[in-house]
Every structure is written in structure tokens, then in C-alpha cells.
Amino acid sequence: MLEKISQTSDERIAAIREKARIIRRRAIQMVFDAKQGHPGGDMSVTDILATLYFGVLRYDPAQPDDPARDRFVLSKGHCTGALYATLAEAGFIPLDELATYMRPLSMLNGHPNRNYVPGVETNTGPLGHGMPVAVGMAIAGQIDGSDRRVFVVTGDGEQQEGSNWEAGMIAGHRHLAQLTLIIDRNHLQQGARTDETNDLEPLADKWRAFGWHVVDVDGHDHAALLDVLGAPVGDRVKPLCVIAHTHKGNGISYMVDQVQWHHGVPNQEQYELAMEELA
């Protein structure tokens, strides 16, 4: 982690961009080999994960239980292609383990399991679970007077679950400034657009009304993400909500903004094209 301090800002951002490219390729490989997964959401969240793990979070893969570590929760737990590729790149799991993704008895289940995968804080999969757990993590830090930070990523469709708002209300009430919610705002859920299903807008106003500091950011711009996520808490007293504007399938031309790639699997030709585009 510390090596980055000696890097210039441009070098850091180039390094994050390269990590994102590697993560995308590995995630596509995993989905292609397993013949299942959620590549649309994987591609959507990759730049957020790369920025967090290679620019923001404080962790030591050799000590995944270090009490002082920053906490990260991928509440949209279906995006394990991107998550596991990130955790492998960050040193939590061996690289060759990725080839076992969703195979019989693999530790790399379709949704993450903290009992088997170092670096996973809580088991997600049912949407709307990450926020309450992250709020609890942040309250624990508040009680301890710790400066550790808690980051949670939800999908945008996931925001339809009431549990997010129950958790958000108490986080605002308790001024959990160490807590950051990142919403992967790709405008698509499983079967349709979010605005055709159950519109979320005005999303920023809603979080503001719940006592949060809200920032909009391009969720594929590593410099912008790093700016927002890497900024110190300083004297901000409210929890931070980052609405990351993203595209499902980002990085792969035929997947971008296409709802069927929520859980589509590339065929041989599509796989080759994807790898070419991510070269």
C-alpha cells in the first residue's frame, strides 16, 4: 500500500487504471469459464473497486483481521467476478484460485462467503444487507474512537430495498462521518431500467434529506473517484454518499447499457471480442 505515497498523482491513477483493466479481464475469464455470473454489474463496479483497493483502503492481506483495517462491503454481492479478481490482485487470495470460480466445493461461491474468503467482511447476496452491517461497523468504530473508515457499495436497483433507508436514517442521525456509501448508478437492474421499474430519482435529494453529504462522480473516472473517495474525512460530520455514475458492461462494447448482460454469459466469439477490447 505504502509504495503509492512516493508516486506522482498521474502515476497513481495510471496504476489504478491498469489494475482495473486486469480485473475486468480476469472477471470476464471467470464468467466465461464458469458459464455463469453477472458480467454487466462486474464491469460497472470494477473502477470503484480498483480505486478503493489500490488507492484508498488501508489493509494488509497478510492480516485480514487486523482490527484497525478499513472495512469494505460489496452489498451487490452478485458481482463476485470483479470482487474476487480484485481480492486476488490485492493479495488476499491466490491468483490460481480464480480458476475454481463456482466449481464444486470451491471457496469462490457465486456470492461471497467470509468464512472461506479472506478480505470478505460479511456474506452478501440478498440485496439490501450491506448497508445495515456497514452502519454497525461504523458505529463500532465510533464507539472505539477509531479513524478506520467503512465503505459499502450498493447497486442502484438495490436502493429499492427499504433496509438501505432504515440504515441510512440511523447513520445520518448518528453522524457516521467515517461511513461512505457508494451507489453504482448504472440505471439498470435485473430485468429492466430502474426508472421503468421503481424510479429512484431524485436520489441525491433523498440521501441529503436523510442527513448525508452527497457527491456525484463519474464512476469510471479513476482520478475523480480517487479525489472523492481518497479525501480525508476532515471536519465533515455527515456520512458520505457517492453517487457513482456508471454503465453496466463498461469496457465491452456490446455489453454497455444492455440489460440482458445482467447475468449473460459470453459465447466464444463474444469472449474473444471482450478480451480484445480489454487488451
Binding site: 464458469a34 455463469q36 454481492g77 452478485h78 463456482m102 466449481r103 464444486p104 466445493l105 470451491s106 471457496m107 469462490l108 461461491n109 457465486g110 456470492h111 462467503n113 456474506n123 452478501t124 447476496g125 440478498p126 440485496l127 439490501g128 436497483g157 438495490e158 429499492q160 430495498e161 427499504g162 437492474q189 435485473q190 430485468g191 429492466a192 430502474t194 421499474t197 421503481n198
Partner: protein, 321 residues
């Protein structure tokens, strides 16, 4: 009893029978509406949505709201089919099912899709192997686990005809259609004896029924006449057929569910307090590891071979061997 029921060739996804029957009924009965949680595709309700967009309520990814909305629709005289993945429908919205549906005794039909371990590699959060235990405790709630397309269709029709809450536990796992005798009838609370036999009884439901029939065939070759019972109705439950099965003194139950609190539990409650018999309960012992649905069924011995083994064991237990 006529010739034993057998598995017909060809495999079916029972969601097709569910959607087709629901559409046919909805055509004649304007009270029928569907309520979903971003689950139009997984519930196979795309056709329903196309034909009656105003009668399909998609609340988004919000299961607790979905079940409560269903109860409100029932209050307005609608017959809501609240359809979503069984794991989230029953797990996430359990209190809504208890208070708004079962306790309030509202005319809500809950369709749990892809129950059991159908979601395979997506893991225990997506498996629904606790649902029978959770829901079986709730008074007023009728619970059916259909075994094949015919029974799925009949259960949907019976659910509409019935005034009151119903849970249909549907699967997406491919199953054969059972070759039933002419004039077979489906009724809530009635078990179906698919094959006669007095040496032991195999009680199954859902996707396990076809495996039970294969096992009985194999046992017959070894000289053991095993009765096969389709206990699709979990609540109300057919005490008569279960107690008659207990007369064999050797019962094996098999279900795509936890070994605790489901079909096996329901049978054991009746048998152990009325007419004790040797029993084996086959199902999942806990959270499943990673693997496809087929892999998991093999891994935990939920196969016809597993049933055959268990029948030999209960017979030995009964005979004190």
C-alpha cells in the same frame, strides 16, 4: 390401485406450467393480478405482463413491500400472485407473510420460484431449503410442493378456487411429467399414493418424487415392495395416508429442503406421536457448499441410490437388525 405411476420421457421446467395456467385463468378472471420484485423474467411472467401490463405490479427489489402490497390488493378484491425467488420471498418477507397474509388470513397466493437448491452455485443465500420449516408453522396457510407440470397447473387452479392464503413452492429444475391414471385429481390436503407396497414407504414431494419412483423400481428388483407417496400438500397434511404408511414400520422421507422442519419433520410429528415407525429423513444437513444443483443433490445423497440405501437401513432398523 392401478399400475404404478411412472416418469414419462422428456423434462419440463414447472415455471412454464405455472405461467401458462396463470395466464389462462387470468383471461377469464379479471381479479387475478401478479406482484413481482424485479422478477418478471425469473417468474416467467413476461407473457402476463405483455397481455395485462396494468395487472402486473413490479414493486422493484423490495420483498417485504411486495408481500404487504399483495395483502392490500387482496383487500381490494384482487387475487394477487406474489411471485419471486422463494429464498427472498419467504426469508426476507417472513413477517409480512405471518402477519399480513397468514394471521390476517388474506386471499394472497405466494409463488416461491426456484426453490430448493435450484440456484446451485449462487449459494446458500439463494437456496430456499428453510422455507417449508418457516411457513409450515403458520396457521391458515396452505402449502403445496408440486412434483411436475400437471400438478403445478392443478395447484395454481386450486389456489385461485380456494379463498385464503396459499404458498406454492415451485422449482425450475427439469422434471419428467408423471404418467398418472386417467381421472387423477389434485386436492389440497390429499397425498397421492403413486405406487403400492407394504415393505416400506417412501414419502417425497417436488423434484424428489421422480427419484422416489426410480428407487422403488430398483427396490422391486431386489424383492422389496416400497410404497411411493407424493406428499405435495404439506399443509393441510394427509394424516390418513401417513399413518397408513407407518403401518409398513419403515419410512424414508426425501425432500429438497433442510432435514429439519420440512416434509420429514411433518411426517415424524404425526408418526412418532401416533404410530411410531423406523424413519430416515433425507435432505440437506445445513448450508450447502459451492456447486450446481445436480452436484449438491448427489453430494448429499439425494438420489434414487440414496433412497434405496435408506430404505434398506429403515427396514433393518425396524427388524432390529
Amino acid at each position: 390401485m392401478a399400475a404404478a405411476v411412472q416418469n414419462a420421457p422428456g423434462l419440463h421446467d414447472c415455471r412454464d406450467a405455472f405461467a401458462k395456467t396463470l395466464e389462462a385463468l387470468a383471461e377469464a378472471d379479471g381479479r387475478i393480478v401478479a406482484v413481482v420484485n424485479d422478477s418478471v423474467g425469473s417468474s416467467k411472467l413476461g407473457g402476463f405482463k405483455k397481455r395485462w401490463p396494468e395487472r402486473l405490479v413490479n414493486v422493484g427489489i423490495a420483498e417485504q413491500n411486495m408481500v404487504g402490497v399483495g395483502a392490500g390488493l387482496a383487500n381490494g378484491g384482487k387475487v394477487p400472485f406474489v411471485s419471486g425467488a422463494a429464498c427472498f420471498l419467504t426469508g426476507r418477507a417472513l413477517e409480512q407473510i405471518k402477519a399480513d397474509v397468514a394471521y390476517s388470513n388474506t386471499n394472497v397466493k405466494l409463488a416461491g420460484i426456484s426453490s430448493g437448491v435450484a440456484y446451485g452455485e449462487l449459494g446458500p443465500t439463494h437456496h430456499s431449503i428453510e422455507d417449508l420449516a418457516w411457513l409450515r408453522l403458520l396457521p391458515n396457510l396452505t402449502i403445496v410442493v408440486p412434483s411436475d407440470p400437471w400438478e403445478t397447473a392443478e395447484a395454481v387452479k386450486a389456489a385461485v378456487a380456494h379463498e385464503g392464503p396459499v404458498f406454492l413452492r415451485l422449482s425450475r429444475m427439469p422434471v419428467p411429467e408423471l404418467k398418472r391414471p386417467e381421472g387423477a385429481r389434485f386436492q389440497f390436503g390429499k397425498a397421492e399414493v403413486l405406487r403400492a407396497g407394504t415393505d416400506a414407504a417412501i414419502i417425497a414431494n417436488g423434484v424428489m418424487v421422480t427419484r422416489a419412483l426410480v428407487a422403488a423400481e430398483a427396490l422391486a428388483e431386489a424383492g422389496i415392495a416400497a410404497r411411493v407417496i407424493n406428499l405435495s400438500s404439506i399443509a393441510p397434511i394427509d394424516r390418513e395416508v401417513i399413518l397408513a404408511a407407518a403401518e409398513t414400520g419403515a419410512i424414508v422421507t426425501i425432500e429438497e429442503h433442510s432435514i429439519r422442519g420440512g416434509l420429514g419433520g411433518a411426517v415424524a410429528e404425526i408418526v412418532s406421536t401416533t404410530r411410531p415407525a423406523a424413519m430416515r429423513i433425507l435432505g440437506f444437513p445445513g448450508f450447502a457448499p459451492t456447486g450446481s444443483a445436480e452436484f449438491l443433490l448427489e453430494h448429499f445423497g439425494l438420489t434414487s441410490e440414496g433412497i434405496v440405501r435408506a430404505v434398506h437401513e429403515v427396514i433393518a432398523m425396524r427388524d432390529g437388525r
